[in-house]
């Protein structure tokens, strides 16, 4: 019966779960205490090279197929070497532009992830100016 009627977790329970188990009521010390290293630090989880990582904001709809919507923030790591299939920020006509990098038999293609937007073909690899490799997208859900 319990399984069929799960109790919603009350806010107090959540608070207890999130708080550091420092106060111990009885004589038995919390076994979790020694393992608590502080809250999760998003920066250290998401950013490998802090000096070389920049946050930029996407403007436009050409990459919606890759999960990047207008107004989403991107973490761009300039220390990463761009590989085939990476989402990169490239400098195109003097503008920072986010596209998917495709190394094809016909040359370098910067693909849009939206059928209404054209791909960009780069004649020579040496003509391609990669500003950085996008590692995460902070997609806004509300």
């Amino acid at each position: 019966m319990l399984a069929l009627h799960p109790q919603p977790i009350s806010p107090e329970v959540v608070a207890v779960l999130l708080a550091a188990p420092t106060a111990v009521a009885c004589g038995f010390p919390s076994p979790a205490q020694d393992y608590y290293d502080g809250p999760i630090d998003l920066t250290s989880m998401l950013v490998e090279d802090q000096a070389a990582t920049f946050i930029v904001r996407a403007a436009g709809h050409s990459m919606t197929g890759a999960g990047i919507s207008d107004g989403d923030e991107l973490l761009v790591d300039r220390s990463k070497r761009p590989r085939h299939g990476d989402i990169i920020v490239a400098i195109i006509d003097g503008e920072l532009t986010v596209k998917r990098l495709a190394l094809t038999a016909d040359g370098v293609v910067l693909r849009s992830e939206n059928s209404e937007h054209p791909d960009i073909v780069v004649a020579e690899l040496s003509d391609l100016q990669v500003w950085g490799v996008a590692t995460y997208c902070l997609h806004h859900l509300r």
Binding site: A51, A52, I55, H61
Partner: protein, 389 residues
């Protein structure tokens, strides 16, 4: 006014110090625009550069917003080819990771490194990397003979006139002068400078030889690692007060403060927090500067072994240049507003309330400045660079 000029800028005639009203009529033809100094961005990019530089050395001495000294292992330093490779790697890494062009000068001591910087910078053959000991001795002699002694770091023009009296005209003259004689003529500092020109390391890193007027840094490596927030707080307080007294000595006030701490690059838990604060008003007040320096503290993590901390003041100006703001400030200070602001900031975050908004009435000149301000793209969430998607 042109406050700094790249090679490209100089090529189209944008000379240092040229006022904007002279350039304005030609702006469109030259393809130039005027923007305000963006010290938040400069401070953050400087911090990133220093963080990358730390990966190349055990001992980094941040000298100013755009200069740092790296100590290279003595044995490795004798290998000129290896030093050239190191210089290139530093230059290329900064270009790749941050897009920042730098020049690297490697020499037996700081006096020679600075000399290489001033001279080789203009010679495209070096392409931004010069290893002093890898150059031909004859070239070095020619260079030192051709340059006036005032080109040496720490030799002021006042000193130059006296040196001329003793027949010391070129750098080469000073380098070859009898050291004991130089000490008798002047003092031990000039003698040590002369020794450094010969390739001896004679002047310690702590000695301030510059008198740069546009910025001020107080930063030290700790003799013992600091692992507590209280410890960092204490260090920053000391540095802020030291910076304040230096400002007062030079009759200056600061508008922007960068506060930073860092672990050694060689530890497991690296951490390089920093915060750049646009001060509510130009100030040399130790209380204000200390408070601003402490804005770093929420980022300091207990238990991490910090190897250094410091503060950097930029956007310096002569005290009294913005006098109208002073009355506002004192009225608020007397009313205990600053304490109130402090506690509000503690509760609601440091951007919730600031003295500047209470005291600054946006006059026309202030609004114009905002208009010319480029985005603070690396420190302000609302001003991030946009990329076309």
């Amino acid at each position: 006014m042109v406050v700094a000029a790249s090679r490209e800028a100089k090529a189209i005639g944008l000379d240092l110090g040229k006022p904007w009203f002279e350039l304005r009529p030609h702006a469109q033809r030259l393809g130039v625009a005027a923007v305000s100094s963006n010290y938040e961005l400069y401070g953050d990019m400087s911090r990133r550069v220093m963080e990358v530089l730390e990966r190349f050395t055990h001992e980094l001495d941040v000298y100013s917003i755009d200069e740092a000294f790296l100590t290279v292992d003595r044995r490795a330093a004798t290998d000129a080819a290896a030093m050239t490779r190191l210089g290139r790697e530093i230059k290329n890494t900064l270009r790749r990771l941050l897009g920042v062009p730098v020049c690297v000068w490697i020499a037996p001591n700081r006096t020679l490194a600075k000399l290489a910087n001033r001279t080789a910078k203009k010679l495209p053959v070096f392409d931004g990397v010069c290893v002093w000991t890898a150059t031909r001795p004859e070239w070095r002699q020619q260079l030192m003979e051709a340059l006036p002694v005032s080109e040496v770091w720490g030799i002021a023009s006042r000193l130059e006139r006296r040196l001329l009296g003793y027949g010391v005209r070129s750098i080469w003259d000073l380098a070859t002068a009898e050291p004991v004689q130089v000490r008798k003529w002047f003092n031990v500092v000039v003698m040590r400078t002369a020794l450094e020109l010969r390739g001896v390391a004679a002047i310690g890193p702590e000695e301030d030889r510059t008198g740069r007027k546009d910025q001020l840094i107080v930063s030290r490596s700790f003799s013992e690692k600091v692992t507590t927030r209280a410890g960092i707080r204490q260090a920053l307080s000391v540095y802020a007060q030291r910076a304040a007294s230096r400002l007062v000595r030079h009759g200056q006030v600061a508008k922007t403060l960068t506060t930073f701490a860092g672990t050694s690059h060689w530890t497991e838990q690296m951490h390089h927090p920093s915060a750049t604060v646009r001060l509510p008003f130009p100030t040399a007040d130790p209380v204000e500067l200390t408070r601003a320096a402490h804005l770093l503290l929420p980022q300091i993590e207990e238990g991490i072994r910090y190897a250094r901390a410091g503060i950097m003041l930029t956007d310096l100006m002569q005290a009294g240049a913005q006098l109208p703001l002073e009355p506002f400030r004192h009225r608020h200070e007397d009313a205990g507003i600053s304490t109130l602001i402090d506690s509000v900031q503690k509760m609601a975050g440091r951007e919730s309330l600031a003295l500047g908004y209470a005291g600054l009435r946006p006059g026309p000149s202030w609004q114009m400045k905002r208009e010319l301000l480029t985005p603070r793209a690396t420190t302000h969430w609302s001003e991030l660079t946009t990329v076309k998607a």
